[in-house]
Symmetry: C2
Subunit: 447 residues, 2 copies
């Protein structure tokens, strides 16, 4: 009986249930509302992230997922401390700042120093060490919004690698204009990376209005700025993070499984609504719709709520280390907020070209157009995709994403329930289409 059904499924190309332009959603909203209300911030490696995993495990079980489990992994954890900054000359002004993830600390009483101002990262890179040694360095490098978020790669480099370079050049501390596109007094945090052997220096982002102020003050008095800075974050040693997993078992183990999800951890300033409560909620709600349809999918659908993404994709790496030899037919993550999906991109085996065409037809009623070939699919599925696992990316409108990203403003009110529901419907249509596709998605890969 099982084989007959498989044969039937593999021959008949079932159309996806027609997509609705304004679908209802209660599951995704309930998940992200619950997570932001009952847990809130869930910085990787902290007890808050552990509470979030426990909260999620109960939710996945209650929703009817199978094989629900937490897969713990160790990580080096960092926590925020006190953070204040004040221009002391030529004009006394308090600044809104946030330590970058992984920042070093000032002495407890803080440090004071002259500020060297650079307008762009390139200007800073070109500066001789002598120009910054012992100084507090500020770099501008104003980010602008793009629909696909592609400018984050370029502008985000300043945050990711600027502090390390400043430490190598001998700077006392490093301040950046927030990698963000808003004009609120909410600085944008985010990970910074240190090369082995480089001692972390204090590194923080100032809000965009404060960055404007620094630049205006420096224009009046070039090189004349002085600043008092207190930053007391610290690394708290090895702590546990973890991935949370749940499944809808499929009928055909040979067809491989589809793995989707978002990341459960968040930065500590907001409540992790758009980054990435939305992603776990969207993908889980879409899978729940498949579950509720009563039709067992051909392929197993695995939901993952990754841990410690913000600390450099640690959850994605841990998942890969543990599961890389399993049969992954397709991977996709949702980690770009909750505004509408406007584009989908795929990287599928050549033999699955008809599937890509069916996806295009199925997603078009939701206003979603096919884009170019998907790249790595995102931080958490990246390691799988790098080994050849097919990938789908449902691209959200990111025009306002970097207004909110990594700030205290990442709260539930930023999510538009209608656009959230469109995301869920897009993922449901994608899952229904791909989980039941007769094409061989494992073509050319192992077993």
């Amino acid at each position: 009986m099982k084989n007959l059904r498989l044969a039937f499924a593999s021959l008949l190309v079932l159309p996806a249930t027609p997509a609705s332009a304004a679908p209802d959603d209660t599951v995704a909203w309930s998940l992200v509302e619950g997570l932001t209300t009952e847990v809130g911030q869930r910085l990787a490696g902290t007890e808050a992230e552990a509470r979030a995993r426990d909260w999620g495990m109960k939710k996945l079980k209650a929703l009817g997922f199978k094989n629900v489990a937490i897969e713990p992994f160790p990580m080096k954890a960092w926590v925020r401390g006190i953070e204040t900054a004040e221009l002391t000359a030529p004009y006394p002004q308090k600044l809104a700042i946030a330590a970058l993830g992984g920042s070093g600390a000032t002495p407890e009483a803080g440090l004071k120093g002259n500020v060297v101002v650079f307008s762009t990262f390139a200007d800073f890179k070109a500066a001789p060490d002598a120009a910054v040694k012992g100084k507090i360095v500020y770099v501008g490098h104003t980010m602008r919004a793009t629909q696909d978020g592609s400018s984050y790669g370029y502008f985000g480099l300043l945050r990711r690698s600027g502090p390390n370079l400043a430490a190598r050049k001998g700077a006392a501390a490093f301040l950046i204009r927030s990698i963000g596109t808003d004009n609120h007094r909410v600085p944008h945090t985010g990970l910074t990376n240190w090369e082995a052997g480089v001692e972390p220096i204090p590194a923080a982002a100032v809000s965009n209005p404060d960055a404007d102020l620094i630049e205006r003050a420096n224009a009046r008095s070039p090189g004349g700025l002085q600043l008092a800075l207190v930053l007391t974050p610290k690394f708290v040693g090895e702590q546990m993070s973890g991935n949370l997993i749940g499944e809808i078992p499929g009928s055909d183990p040979d067809a491989g499984m589809i793995v989707i999800g978002g990341h459960l951890d968040s930065w500590d300033l907001g409540t992790g609504a758009i980054d990435d409560g939305a992603g776990v909620a969207i993908t889980t709600a879409a899978a729940k719709a498949i579950l509720d349809s009563g039709k067992k999918p051909r392929r197993t659908i695995r939901i993952v709520w990754w841990g410690a993404e913000e600390e450099g994709g640690l959850g994605g790496a841990a998942y890969f280390a543990k599961h890389k030899d399993e049969r992954h037919a397709l991977a996709g993550e949702s980690d770009f907020g909750a505004d509408r999906v406007w584009r989908f991109q795929t990287k599928l085996p050549t033999a699955a070209a008809p599937l890509a065409a069916r996806l295009a037809s199925a997603l078009a009623p939701l206003g979603i157009a096919a884009g170019a070939e998907a790249e790595d699919g995102g931080t958490d599925v990246g390691p799988l995709v790098a080994t050849g696992v097919p990938v789908i990316a449902l691209g959200q409108d990111g025009t306002r994403y970097f207004d909110i990203h990594h700030t205290a403003d990442d709260t539930l009110d930023k999510i538009d329930p209608k656009q959230l529901a469109q995301n869920v419907e897009a993922w449901r249509v994608m899952l229904e289409t791909t989980a039941n596709a007769p094409e061989d998605l494992m073509a050319g890969r192992g077993q």
Copy 2:
């Protein structure tokens, strides 16, 4: 010669210089840019407000105003301290809060208590004392934006009189949803008033996203919220504030003078850009345009940068006490941001009806329509207007004003230079029209 000119001016109704729809402005922008950059916050009664007065005196003199002077007055000053709040049950969550101006303090180590949640001010007023005694009281009372800002009167009552009522009912502390229309993590401060004999209790606003969170948490667990609060503001005794004054002397002292301006003090969280750096900049730039026209106005134009408006209109009261017996022909203030003027309102003597008609014609090209009769004209000119001084109100679009008002977000970037310039042009046209009007604006009032 003087008399001949006066006679000429009083007979000929000169049309105002044609208004331009997109005028240039450099004076107003330069003033508000300078004030927010070189001074920043200027809380009433502090050395920052004193620096702002000194800064302004230099500017008014440099711009060519006459009789520039600071008129000091004493006030009871209050300064902000540490402020933190955290829900401790049922869900640990940090809250973004700001003490209200005049708030009492918690013990240095803070206070902890059960939270009683009310959705509206009316619900809180109706509650028996026993329901709130010893508790931390939270009141919602969600404000919505209006173009004319009229909802501030109603919703602002909660901030102004709620804490006093809570103290009388025996509450341990009082939290309100911000009196503001944004959804950022920037709580809105503002003055609260205490009746004589009432001991101030700790009173603070939570940002709107945090208010949403409190209300969602309370909906899950009615009466089950616990909160830890630290607020250490204090009154610092009698300090000096002051008004800054400058004039363009007119040719006809008998015609009375026109007094216009904005308030120089600001709350301490932002840099006082829209409240009210914009108002002093707009009115000063408009007067400067009259000065630069080379035509001496019939009536003296007096600019006032009032002090300590935020503490209850102390500068307006001090001005009135000192100047009430002078010949005021007309009063007007700009204290509602820098978005476009869309309406003007006046209260003029019956004999000056033709002037109102000429103002309507002169302001129409700027997209400004005549509204109903002006009321008190605002906090600072209110005492004058209450004694019968004619008033003009150039009403700005306030749709986004209460997104920013009294928050850390009140920074220069919130000012649109084009709309600021339209304000300056509206005030210039108003000044040119009224300062030279032949009508008797002192009709029925003294001398």
